[in-house]
């Protein structure tokens, strides 16, 4: 690959290890996982290898790698098992990273350590039944009462919530303040007043649960407020900014899977006495996929590098996510096309990436909203 020479030894080693893990542990079960079973064994192995808190420093039980390595790991998992890539993304970018970035020393010891070591699983609760893109209008409330916070409301489409032990949950202490009224709470999913509904039935990503969380008078102790009161919206936005590097890497992995399957199939499948790889119509499809992989990878690597250097990366991460997920959607469609009727069938691997790629255009900021973010960076 072209990016080989721009990676450090450590980054290449992390990538190669995760590639080996994905081939060995995820590939044999990827089809089954996609049909709806949470990959429990894989999650356990990922914990052992240090992948459940990959970027969290070792002193808090994590792997301690840089943002580039974390993104490369994401690409590797995604190229094999889309559902597992969502579990990895939520645990790392949406839960561990913000607790590390915004948590107090005590919170890092108490909450981050078990998450980063993979003992506990986390989820990220921002979206609500009536609020998605417009996160500043969220309706879940947090009222201070008798020495704790009392939470009321509901969260919807929350990945990992079916299995999670903790939720980074966003609620407003004053709706009239809009985004300035939002606070972030680390909520124990087993607390009274928290109820997880049965998983949604969705287009793809079957092994990753997405549920509604009903919150009825859940009491959260004050030490579970992440950051300061009113800082929640900033925490959510910064978390999603970084999360998009992961989604871009994920989508790059999806395209890679589509390309590999398409090339292999095109060389084998013969029509009119020739392998279909002889036809220009097929060649152009794989050429486009290969080109978009390189472009998508360079985009997310650039954003990851900026993050590593402590520079602003919000616009670059948004571009990377939009480009990679749109390209993955195209690649999924074209990979199914290269496979003909077989491509539409579950016996072949490509349709699962096609279905998964659609989600990457929606979560962590829809591609429409992100184009607005990109434009804002240009016009301001």
């Amino acid at each position: 690959m072209f990016s080989e020479d721009i990676l450090t030894e450590e980054q290449r080693m992390v990538r190669d290890m995760v590639r080996g893990f994905s081939r060995k542990e995820l590939a044999p079960r990827a089809a089954e996982t996609d049909l709806g079973s949470f990959p429990e064994d894989a999650a356990k192995k990922m914990a052992e290898l240090g992948l459940m808190g990959i970027a969290v420093p070792a002193e808090y039980g994590g792997g301690g790698v840089d943002p580039v390595s974390a993104a490369l790991a994401m690409e590797e998992i995604s190229a094999v098992c889309p559902s597992t890539s969502v579990i990895f993304a939520v645990q790392n970018s949406l839960v561990c990273d913000p607790i590390f970035a915004f948590g107090s020393e005590i919170q890092k010891k108490e909450f981050l350590r078990p998450l980063a070591s993979g003992e506990k699983l986390g989820c990220f609760g921002l979206t609500e039944p009536s609020v998605g893109s417009d996160a500043a209008s969220l309706q879940t409330t947090a009222i201070r009462s008798e020495g704790h916070w009392r939470l009321e409301g509901a969260k919807r489409f929350i990945s990992n919530s079916g299995e999670a032990d903790l939720c980074l949950l966003f609620a407003t202490t004053d709706k009239s303040l809009r985004h300035k009224g939002v606070s972030a709470f680390i909520v124990d999913m087993n607390s009274p007043g928290i109820e997880v509904a049965k998983p949604e039935r969705k287009l793809g990503l079957g092994g990753s649960s997405v549920c509604e969380i009903r919150i009825e008078g859940a009491e959260v102790p004050p030490e579970c407020l992440l950051g300061s009161e009113g800082q929640g919206f900033e925490i959510a936005m910064k978390t999603l900014d970084a999360g998009r590097i992961g989604v871009a890497a994920q989508a790059t992995g999806f395209i890679r899977a589509c390309l590999a399957a398409s090339v292999a199939y095109a060389r084998e499948r013969e029509t009119f006495g020739r392998p279909i790889s002889d036809y220009q119509a097929i060649q152009w499809k794989v050429a486009d996929m290969a080109t978009e992989i390189e472009a998508a990878r360079l985009l997310y690597l650039k954003a990851a590098r900026l993050k590593q250097k402590g520079l602003s990366f919000s616009g670059e991460a948004a571009m990377a996510k939009v480009f990679a997920s749109d390209a993955a959607q195209r690649a999924g469609s074209e990979a199914v096309q290269v496979h003909g009727g077989n491509g539409y069938m579950r016996d072949y691997p490509v349709e699962k990436f096609y279905r998964a790629a659609k989600a990457a255009q929606i979560y962590e900021g829809t591609n429409e909203i992100l184009r607005e973010v990109i434009a804002k960076h240009l016009m301001e």
Binding site: E9, E10, V14, M17, R267
Partner: protein, 266 residues
């Protein structure tokens, strides 16, 4: 318990046959583009066994490989799995060595290291599959050796080794220092953890050449090789399907057996 593990970096054999190319004129395999080399399969079992022994008994694991600069990648991976030190044996005089030459180089390096309890190797390399280097090394160092282990237990100063044989197994006791070769039944090699990788990436790998290990350069390298490769080619595999016609299963089985015997398959 101080252990030395000798590993070899090889071309990844897990590639589609169509991507496997041979340069018949140069009598060499053409390394496939974009496929990084790997640690020879059986060597990973040797590494895992060494780490298991170290975890139970303490000690240090030193890795040795004869290879070019690119072999650092494999050494680093083994360090990340849990080995302590690695030394790369690289010198232009080593190029083209056969198994016996490699054994002489390894023996030189091991003499320089000095003390150790066990040398572990894979039972054979996954590229040429000769299985001679490890045993030649034992010979060069005048050590007892036990090959093809499927199980290893340490009891004080002796090691109880279970060897895989074609028609069963053999149990052997050996005292240390000794050389052992691991078969794939012995364990399941671990993947390196993220923490292991970070630790490994900070480790330095020194290079030792012929001069450092006191190896007589006339005894190693292509010039000293006693084995000559006369031809290297890709076998031409083709498949042919033949139906055995018969009235009963018994008759079909008999005809099939006869047919297979005719072709000297059974």
């Amino acid at each position: 318990m101080d252990i030395i593990v000798c590993i070899k970096q090889v071309l990844d054999h897990d590639i589609p046959p169509r991507d496997f190319k041979v340069d018949e004129e140069k009598r060499a395999v053409v390394p496939p583009a974009n496929v990084p080399p790997i640690i020879s399969n059986f060597d990973e079992y040797a590494i895992e066994e060494a780490i298991t022994l170290k975890e139970a008994n303490g000690g240090k694991i030193t890795l040795l490989t004869v290879g070019d600069e690119s072999s650092r990648d494999s050494l680093k991976k083994c360090l990340a799995m849990g080995c302590d030190e690695a030394i790369l044996l690289n010198d232009s005089a080593f190029e083209g060595s056969d198994s016996f030459g490699i054994a002489r180089i390894l023996a030189g390096a091991i003499k320089k290291i000095g003390s150790f309890d066990i040398i572990l190797c894979g039972r054979l390399s996954s590229d040429w599959s000769f299985g001679t280097t490890a045993l030649a090394l034992a010979e060069a160092l005048d050590l007892p050796s036990v090959s093809q282990l499927q199980k290893l237990e340490a009891n004080g100063d002796t090691l109880r080794c279970e060897r895989v044989l074609e028609d069963g197994e053999e149990i052997v006791e050996v005292s240390m220092p000794c050389l052992l070769t691991a078969s794939n039944e012995i364990n399941t090699p671990r993947l390196p953890s993220v923490k292991g990788i970070l630790m490994a990436s900070r480790k330095q790998i020194p290079v030792w050449g012929a001069g450092d290990i006191g190896v007589d350069t006339s005894q190693v390298g292509a010039g000293a090789a006693t084995l000559e490769l006369t031809k290297l080619y890709k076998p031409d595999y083709s498949t042919l399907c033949e139906f055995i016609e018969a009235d009963s299963l018994e008759e079909a089985a008999e005809k099939l057996a006869t047919r297979l015997r005719e072709d000297k398959i059974i």
